[in-house]
């Protein structure tokens, strides 16, 4: 098949999956936080609030689109779209799965594999600061400006430990291509410990992983580093003056950044699409079991409904889960979906961690934030990089 056509199809599929995931990630976040705070979360729109994202979209589109006076129109309008573009760009180099064969075509579950893949991701993430900074500046609002300033200083500061943390597993992998980084993590120690970067000899990248994760929280402006939009100090930070779809764009950018960062973490440290234990030990049946379990739980609650509606919705969910579980037993489908399942499972676990922390931790003070980056994270990252380098050099 034509290269361009194939790429186009992949791009459409990825965009569809990603945007859906974005919408529902917000739903998941609201649900999870609600449960952390012993609430129900969205419940009215659709079963268990499943149609809430759709409702949100309709609400946001129909809202009045305000442009504050004396704002720099070009930048004010451009900033949200710049932000969302940058957030979506880096997904293009992330490998979701291994090689697949569909209808006589062989391709990778990845939009494109660059030789400098990880550098591309870093470049894009370093560009994403402009969206926030521009928005803050162009709004002609002191809170927005402060939010923009804060976030640009914060992003520059955390970019350093982030890059240092990325460099260490690269030393193990010996490549910059994300696909090869994953392939290089194939295999198991003693038959059951995966050779993921966080476990890999000669220097398990566990410190690097933690540093990367912390820096990622800062890069995505998430709690506990969300000083750019600290609502009790800065109203809403850089997006105080934004409404309607432009506000939605910032929201999308934030969630897309989260997904990207979690995908990168998965790729770099957690072995990407590789299963947790070898297929010989039955890892291929994990998705089936998981979905069967999900179906069983849904069925149980459907038969013992807490609310009237559950009698209808939960069995439907159970049936869907059951069908998915069966689908994972079909070899052709399995070959395509199994790597993606593992990738999604790891990324999902990380996303859950993001949400969990948002529901748990308070916000940093600004000087603590910067001090933490420069006085703790950066030295630790450099030390980790040096030790890794020395060990790699010693054992190669």
């Amino acid at each position: 098949m034509n290269f361009f056509l194939l790429s186009l199809i992949k791009a459409v599929v990825v965009a569809f999956v990603l945007l859906t995931a974005l919408a529902y990630l917000q739903w998941v976040e609201r649900k999870v936080i609600a449960h952390i705070q012993v609430r129900m979360g969205p419940y009215r729109v659709g079963p268990h609030g499943l149609l809430q994202p759709l409702a949100d979209v309709i609400k946001l589109i129909t809202k009045e689109d305000l442009i504050p006076p004396h704002a720099n129109k070009f930048l004010y309008l451009g900033a949200p779209f710049f932000a969302v573009t940058m957030a979506l760009l880096s997904i293009s180099v992330i490998p979701f799965g291994s090689e697949i064969h569909v209808l006589g075509n062989t391709t990778w579950m990845q939009l494109t594999d660059l030789n400098i893949g990880i550098l591309f991701v870093l470049a894009i993430s370093s560009m994403s600061v402009y969206g926030v900074a521009m928005a803050g500046w162009a709004s002609n609002n002191k809170y927005s400006l402060l939010g923009g300033l804060r976030s640009s200083a914060q992003m520059i500061s955390y970019e350093l430990p982030l890059s240092m943390a990325v460099a260490a597993p690269l030393l193990l992998a010996n490549t910059l291509s994300l696909r090869h980084i994953v392939l290089q993590q194939t295999g198991y120690y003693l038959g059951f410990i995966p050779r993921w970067s966080i476990f890999q000899g000669p220097m398990p990248q566990i410190f690097s992983f933690i540093i990367f994760l912390i820096a990622a929280f800062a890069e995505t402006n998430r709690v506990p580093f969300d000083l750019a939009e600290a609502e009790n100090e800065l109203v809403a930070g850089f997006h105080t003056e934004y409404s309607s779809m432009k506000f939605a764009a910032f929201f999308m950018a934030e969630y897309a950044n989260m997904i990207t960062v979690c995908s990168i973490t998965t790729t770099l440290f957690l072995g990407g699409w590789l299963p947790l234990w070898p297929a010989s030990a039955g890892s291929s049946y994990v998705p089936t079991l998981v979905f069967l379990g999900g179906a069983a739980v849904a069925l149980y609650h459907g038969l013992n409904p807490a609310r009237r509606m559950d009698r209808l919705t939960l069995p439907v969910v159970a049936v869907v889960f059951f069908l998915i579980a069966v689908a994972f037993l079909v070899p052709a489908v399995q070959a395509v979906l199994l790597p993606f399942f593992w990738f999604a499972a790891k990324t999902g676990a990380l996303l859950f961690l993001f949400i969990w922390i948002r529901g748990t931790l308070p916000r940093f003070r600004y000087d603590q934030l910067m001090g933490f980056a420069w006085k703790f994270m950066f030295p630790v990252a450099v030390a980790n990089l040096m030790v890794t380098g020395l060990l790699v050099a010693a054992f190669s």
């Binding site: 030789n115 470049a123 900074a133 640009s152 520059i156 970019e159």
Partner: protein, 166 residues
């Protein structure tokens, strides 16, 4: 394809470059400069310098320009006031600049044969591996010297920007 890509990004670069000069507000200039840098990164890719393309975006667009934008925002720099004092620069400078540009273009045309073509993929010596190998072997000393330079620059910047302790 090469020509189309080149033209697209060359035009973006030149337009943004003109914008850098013409815009009165520094932040517009800065945004335009980011545009120049981004399109130059694509041109670097076309020339086979993929590592440099990434470095261009990370270092220039991602770090240097963020600093610029940061400072502009911090100082709340407004549009500049028009009160020129250097007639010389305008009267002599612009014609000189045109002469300079003409000479350069003429040299570029004359010095390189018309057969010298740039085709994407014809030179693949700019991977991270190649650049790294050159940096850490043949160019080790300049690399180290530049590291020292940047260290001094960091110290200098810290000292300059530090609050006075009085």
């Amino acid at each position: 394809m090469d020509v189309i890509l080149f033209l697209i990004f060359a035009v973006i670069a030149v337009v943004c470059g003109i914008n850098v000069v013409v815009q009165t507000h520094p932040i517009s200039s800065a945004i335009s400069l980011i545009g120049v840098m981004g399109s130059l990164a694509v041109l670097y890719l076309l020339l086979g310098a993929e590592f440099l393309a990434a470095a261009q975006v990370i270092v220039y667009a991602g770090a240097v320009m963020v600093l610029f934008v940061f400072v502009i925002m911090l100082l709340n720099a407004g549009a500049e006031t028009r009160r020129g004092r250097s007639l010389l620069a305008q009267l002599l400078g612009i014609p000189l600049l045109l002469v300079f540009l003409g000479l350069m273009a003429y040299f570029a045309q004359r010095l390189f044969p018309a057969t010298a073509m740039v085709r994407f993929g014809a030179f693949r010596g700019g991977t991270a591996l190649d650049v790294g190998e050159a940096l850490f072997t043949r160019f080790l000393l300049p690399f180290e010297v530049v590291s020292v330079l940047i260290l001094i620059a960091i110290l200098g910047a810290v000292v300059l920007a530090r609050k006075e302790l009085d």
